[in-house]
């Protein structure tokens, strides 16, 4: 189901000429499609190595998810230099704090296990993405930045997926919850929901509206000034003609 929906969105994005407009996002979607195809072939031909393969590719999936954040931050604030500057400061601060936390966590850890580490690493990666996404959305809300349907689709879809991922990975990392099949279904269902939102949001190209840099009164004044200038110039040429006659 996921593979079909991803392929459909990608084909539609190429037909609607949206692919190159949101290149990083569609590269992410293409990479996820390839990962899903690989997983499917591994499950069909080598089911014994599926579990470790799944976790390694899941880590890859979470890492390339940063391409979506990059795409969102690039498109969301490209017309607003002020909030973009604040966003950069905020993103660097978050990144610094996270790197510090990961180093401290790694130094203080005594026991290492691949599955636990993969789950925890993915959970941490998704949490950082959630923080970055929340920061960008907060700036969009606070500064009332106008956004198009495409960007809204990308943001809402990815937010839904990130939210569900964090909750499921956080509960999944608990000893009692990890083995329950219900928690394993949350992430794929949320991803499918995100795909449907992306499919709707990116059906056709709808860029962000360009912010008005001058107020209505300035615009009206410029318009009147231009009309007056033209009228005077017409009158002058008319008088000149009259003088010559």
């Amino acid at each position: 189901m996921e593979i079909v929906t991803e392929a459909f969105i990608l084909v539609r994005s190429i037909n609607a000429k949206v692919y190159d407009k949101y290149l990083a996002f569609f590269i992410y979607l293409t990479a996820v499609l390839l990962i899903d195809l690989l997983r499917f072939s591994v499950l069909s031909f080598h089911p014994s190595i599926y579990a470790p393969f799944y976790w390694y590719t899941e880590f890859l999936h979470a890492t390339i998810g940063y391409a979506v954040i990059l795409e969102i931050s690039k498109h969301a604030l490209n017309n607003s230099p002020g909030p973009a500057r604040i966003a950069r400061t905020f993103l660097w601060a978050i990144l610094g704090a996270v790197i510090l936390r990961v180093i401290l966590h790694a130094v203080s850890r005594s026991v290492w296990s691949t599955t636990t580490m993969s789950t925890e690493l993915e959970r941490d990666l998704r949490t950082v993405q959630a923080l970055l996404l929340a920061g960008i959305i907060a700036l969009l809300t606070y500064y009332v930045v106008a956004t198009g349907r495409n960007l809204r689709g990308i943001i809402f879809g990815y937010s839904a997926y990130i939210y569900a991922s964090i909750v499921s990975l956080a509960f999944g990392s608990l000893p009692g919850y990890g083995l329950r099949p219900g928690w394993r279904l949350v992430q794929p269902i949320a991803y499918l929901a995100a795909l449907l939102i992306w499919g709707y949001g990116l059906w056709s190209y709808s860029p962000n509206p360009v912010a008005e840099t001058e107020s209505k009164i300035d615009r009206d004044y410029r318009f009147i000034a231009e009309q007056t200038r033209r009228a005077i110039s017409r009158a002058r040429s008319f008088l000149k003609m009259g003088g010559e006659l």
Partner: protein, 193 residues
């Protein structure tokens, strides 16, 4: 279970912020905010001096002394009721003025290239504190009336005046054009104690 709290907290934060954004998209679909809005209100709002005097008059004791000395208890009650309505309306107007100026700043700030995170955070915090104080005052006056709560009102209004000063200074540094509007829209003097 407690180790999950930071993760669930971040997830909830994302959910809340996304919900607020969705609400804003839904609400601003038809009514677009323009930088010109506060200037229009300023023109409609009457003179600055009369607005400031109105606040002093509403919370002043002169009228109450006159009514309490020479009028019946019915008239006194009516006066208190009317005065409370006036005071609440005046505070709401102050609050609305601040909101319009803030919205104008936020709309203008998109084009300011050297926007500073620290100044913006300070401005946002003082603005939200200002709104909370106005709401608390409205509730207080609604519960106890403007005369009985006069001391508390004057103390809070002094804090509001101080906040307004801080807000104005920050705005002057960040966005001088909108600051001019702020001066005329929010020109309320603190009540004499």
């Amino acid at each position: 279970m407690s180790q999950l709290l930071p993760y669930l907290g971040v997830a909830s934060l994302l959910l809340v912020v996304a919900a607020l954004w969705a609400r804003q998209i839904f609400l601003t679909r038809k009514s677009r905010i323009e930088v010109i809005a506060p200037r229009e209100r300023q023109a409609a709002g009457g003179s600055t001096a009369s607005h400031g005097d109105l606040g002093e008059r509403i919370f002043g004791l002169e009228d109450w002394h006159f009514v309490s000395r020479s009028m019946s208890s019915e008239i006194q009650e009516m006066f208190l009721r009317e005065r409370a309505v006036l005071a609440i309306s005046w505070l709401r107007r102050t609050r609305r003025g601040a909101s319009l100026v803030m919205r104008a700043h936020v709309a203008a700030a998109q084009q300011i290239e050297d926007l500073q995170l620290a100044s913006e955070v300070k401005l946002a915090l003082s603005y939200f504190f200002f709104l909370i104080l106005c709401d608390v005052l409205i509730g207080w006056i609604w519960l106890r009336g403007p005369v009985r709560t006069r001391k508390m009102v004057s103390r809070t209004l002094r804090t509001v005046a101080w906040l307004r000063g801080a807000f104005e200074q920050l705005m002057a540094r960040i966005d001088p054009a909108t600051c001019k509007t702020l001066r005329t829209n929010l020109d309320h003097r603190a009540v004499r104690g």
